[in-house]
Symmetry: C2
Subunit: 504 residues, 2 copies
């Protein structure tokens, strides 16, 4: 029923005014978000507080003007939904970048947009701590005002909120990338109307998200190495699978088994479908542990920790304890696409390093804050491979693909395969573009997958101890687009570049 | 009609005796092939002639014994067909490796099997000119007896013959990897019986193959840098898209624009569907130039030559002439999966080098002697991506994929996507295994794709100026398997590792 409304004739029409009106309202709300780091600036007595006030004012004026010019009144139509989804991250990044520029901390607006998009897409790739292609020396992370650091983390956290609702409530209705699989799993009312359903679902899931963030904050705060500020920033960045840290050395800077453990656990939690967390918190333990994607995610993570830790122990002479500590942190960080680091995986023996590289192509569960291909798609891809081989022996048999007790529709199978192929093609194009800029193969591949998969750290010149400052501006805009394409499940963004989309 | 016979109840049964009987007959015929290098040894007065006699005798005895023990009499059933196809390359490599070992030229049987499998699969990866992991110094290419060099080239040429028939006559009937697409294109009778059809088709296509080899031989022979021996070896290796050369420096050793041009042209020819060549030679010019895959192949090659040559010209300071000469040779060599070299692409600017790396994932036309993913699958993959994006806007529309005037069946679409995904997964596993052996990422990736794609030269420690001698033996066996998996379109080999296949 729900589906039929969205797939109605309305699908073929759209109104740009509605789209800009809604984007205006989002920008307006971003204004409120910008006032929070202003409070942080007050607390720490930082001069940059006015930066946030100016930025918020611009957001209020621009957002308000857009909203009142177009006054979107009717329910969102499907094509409008696609445009809103694709443009939200872009518009919010363009406005959210203002504090970096107004404060004079980043001389380049491109860098400011890169950093903000990296924040809002929960990528965590940074242009701080490096020198740009035209010679600007961007500041060290540790020299940044608290309010600016907080704005980076807050961008993660708000981006994560957006993503949970997007993947669990909006994309399934838009039919993107096989996400229809999750239609039944979301909490909230099953209404035909998009807006009330999304609002209701959002409230329930955000409650879970806020709760986990609060718990992680407290657990980090109790450790002597972290003050409340470090704790809240890292809790934001963890639950969003973001990866921005208040330290250039990332989590390694705290050098604490306790902190490593807490963050590993919460990264793992952030990589689980939030609809499942919601069910668990409502007491539905059975459906949480019955969830096939979650079990597959846990299995892959477990196997990867074993392989990587063994490699560290055997080939890099780590003690067993250190091997497990650093192996599990890095594995969970990459599988969930968080990108926090406690060890430089580039100097590992190739077994551990290459295994971790393969994990750059995984991603957590759908409906988590993680990016990438995601576990449910891998399950379908792997099952489809076995099915395809079996089909050769039984060419006339109809061999369904099942995940738990659900049969995966053949349309969804095809969509998932297509998603994966398209994902890899976009990845290849990204690497090619980086290679045009003169980067070696490993760096080019690393930058492309790290941004497309919303991971953050890559390989070569963009490894865990490096940053993205040095890339020529055109390359930065490409990566800004890539973070957005990856974050929005590819189809959403690519769609609006096709003539089909704009044909009435 | 044809299909129905093959898809009958017989599919579920098989007789191992029949399989071994047929393999026996192939081994027996390999005995005759082994007598040809013996003649070369006579011509050049080489002592190793007896090596080939012994090897041929073993082939006659083993092959004959197998054949007469099992006397395969009935028509091949489908599962038997799969086993025969998968085991043929393995058994012939095990026997074809004998001359290298009996002559004492290669102390390691593994190396001998590697070289022979590399020959028969038209890969062209060599273990000569290097030191093995246990310290054997394998001879230089230029120090090898003529008869041994000839045996390597002949293995290519026979392998190429096998592949043409396999992809155009056998795999379509077995329904592997979307090759059913080509059922209608093959010449030969449309009979229900496998054997007469395959024999008839083989004769017609081999005629074309022999003719092209002869023409290339003559065109190479007339050049003063090549004697008849160099000419015949390179003609064999070109038409098979093999890549073994009589020189360690490959085609660069001849340093001739004429030779480069001839080989570039014939590599390009070898990358075209031989059923299309057959049609062209029969005067059906229209259907040759109408063939969409061929046009796509030409387009991709053309674009790649432009990009790579421009990169050489702009970033590597080649003259325009040299840029085109070396750019087009290397591009055609990689696109067709031949692997001949006239330039070290590893020292190119990353644009050219990385673009070439992407071409490692292409391959020529299906029904050519080239390996890899192949153009027709890429066409379907790309069209499917566009279709999938369009489908989002028109969720209920049935959007077919057309190649020329043919509609691609939705089963075949899925099979092609699955093939590609499985191909990449196997590639990833191969790279992981190589990384376990301690190779860096680029070398590991290079070895995996160069062997799986039957290309030959890879990257890093296995680049165009290196060889595969140094790999530990277990790694060589993995690559032997990979050359076979890639050559036999993946499904064929993977299938026989599944329990489903063996269930009665
Ligand atoms: K991240
Ligand atoms: K080859």
């Amino acid at each position: 029923m729900r589906k039929s409304v969205l797939h109605s004739a309305n699908r073929a029409q759209f109104n740009l005014g509605t789209v800009f009106g809604i984007l205006g309202s989002f920008i307006f709300f971003l204004g409120f978000a910008l006032l929070i780091p202003m409070l942080i600036a007050f607390i720490y007595g930082e001069d940059v507080w006015h930066t946030f006030l100016y930025s918020a004012s611009i957001a209020f004026v621009v957002g308000g003007a857009l909203y009142y010019s177009f006054k979107p009144e009717h329910e969102l139509r499907v094509r409008e939904g696609f445009l809103v989804v694709s443009l939200t991250w872009l518009f919010l990044s363009l406005v959210g970048a203002l504090p970096f520029v107004i404060s004079g901390i980043l001389p380049s607006y491109t860098d400011a947009v890169f950093e903000t998009m990296s924040g809002l897409t929960t990528t965590g790739a940074t242009i701080f701590n490096g020198t740009t292609s035209d010679g600007f020396v961007n500041p060290q992370i540790e020299s940044l005002p608290y309010s600016i650091l907080f704005w980076r983390s807050l961008a993660h956290w708000l981006g994560g909120m957006g993503i949970i609702v997007l993947t669990l409530a909006i994309l399934p209705l838009l039919g993107v990338g096989g996400m229809q699989l999750f239609q039944a799993e979301s909490p909230g009312p099953t209404t035909d109307k998009l807006t009330p359903r999304v609002q209701e679902t959002a409230k329930l899931l955000w409650g879970v998200y806020v709760a986990f963030t609060g718990v992680e904050f407290l657990l980090l705060w109790v450790h002597p190495s972290m003050d409340w500020f470090d704790a809240i920033n890292h809790a934001f960045a963890t639950m969003a699978t973001g990866g921005f840290s208040t330290k250039n050395a990332s989590i390694e800077a705290f050098d604490s088994v306790y902190i490593d453990t807490i963050i590993t656990i919460f990264m793992f939690i952030a990589g689980i479908n939030f609809a499942m967390h919601f069910r668990l918190l409502k007491g539905d333990v059975k459906s949480f542990f019955d969830n096939r994607e979650m079990r597959f995610y846990a299995l892959i993570t477990f196997i990867s920790v074993i392989v990587v830790s063994t490699s560290l122990w055997l080939f890099n002479q780590y003690s067993i304890g250190s091997a497990i500590r650093y192996g599990s942190f890095q594995v969970v960080s990459i599988v969930t696409t968080t990108g926090f680091g406690t060890d430089n995986y580039e100097v590992w023996h190739t077994l551990g390093a290459f295994f971790l590289f393969l994990l750059f192509f995984t991603g957590g569960c759908a409906g988590s804050t993680g990016g990438g291909v995601k576990m449910i798609r891998w399950m379908i891809i792997i099952r489809n491979s076995f099915r395809e081989i079996k089909q050769i022996v039984h060419p006339k048999a109809i061999l369904p693909i099942r995940i738990g007790d659900k049969t995966v529709d053949s349309d969804i199978q095809r969509t998932v395969l297509s998603f994966f192929v398209l994902y890899l093609m976009v990845f290849g194009v990204g690497a090619l573009i980086m290679s045009v800029m003169g980067y070696d193969m490993q760096s080019a591949i690393g930058a492309s997958i790290a941004c497309l998969g919303n991971i953050g750290p890559g390989w070569g010149e963009f490894g865990p101890t490096d940053n993205y400052a040095q890339i020529p501006y055109i390359g930065k805009w490409v990566l800004i687009l890539f973070m957005m394409i990856g974050r929005l499940e590819i189809f959403t963004v690519l769609l609006i570049f096709t003539p089909t989309f704009w044909k009435q």
